[in-house]
Symmetry: C2
Subunit: 120 residues, 2 copies
Amino acid sequence: MDHENYSKLVLVIRNDLKMGKGKVAAQCGHASVGAYRLAVKRPNVLKAWEACGQTKITLKCDSEEQMMELHQTAKAIGLISHVVRDAGQTQVAPGSKTVCAIGPGPADQIDQITGHLKLY
Amino acid sequence: MDHENYSKLVLVIRNDLKMGKGKVAAQCGHASVGAYRLAVKRPNVLKAWEACGQTKITLKCDSEEQMMELHQTAKAIGLISHVVRDAGQTQVAPGSKTVCAIGPGPADQIDQITGHLKLY
């Protein structure tokens, strides 16, 4: 498969919130559905991602500021990006931004923005 | 909100596979999108779940056998249920069944099937 055409979704997780593993998993569920709903409006993007097995990669960041900067940069270059705001009934304050889904989209573009982040 | 009408999605995670937290989060992303896609075909179910903030709960089970039994029982009573089979490029054998999403659907029905499971 041509790397330039490879499609993926990255889930950037707020590591500073110290969420439990089940909480993180549920937030990544929210983020994935949010990204999927945006992708439905771009059939070619969705098709490419499905052809790549709906690849999902979990990465970590250290602050809300850093996450929002990634979100804005992603949107500025035309990528799908979706931030999850948690209802905050457990573990985090209401309205906390917990995970940012960037993509689905071309791996090379996503790597430009998130390539420096470590795997979660 | 009436408990009987409360809608949720549970993500039943194979605890015996000893997946890392990032792996589990990505698998729950797959499971959530899979369940969402099935829910799109049942607009009333989807609407109810969205009205409840797309509640997602992570639970754990101890074997593939137990997970598949939950999946079959859920389907038998008419609930949405979706099992994730992992491509197995990391951590687990190819084709491993990692997470079962049950719902979205009425909390009382889902609790009948999964109420005995512990939170992940």
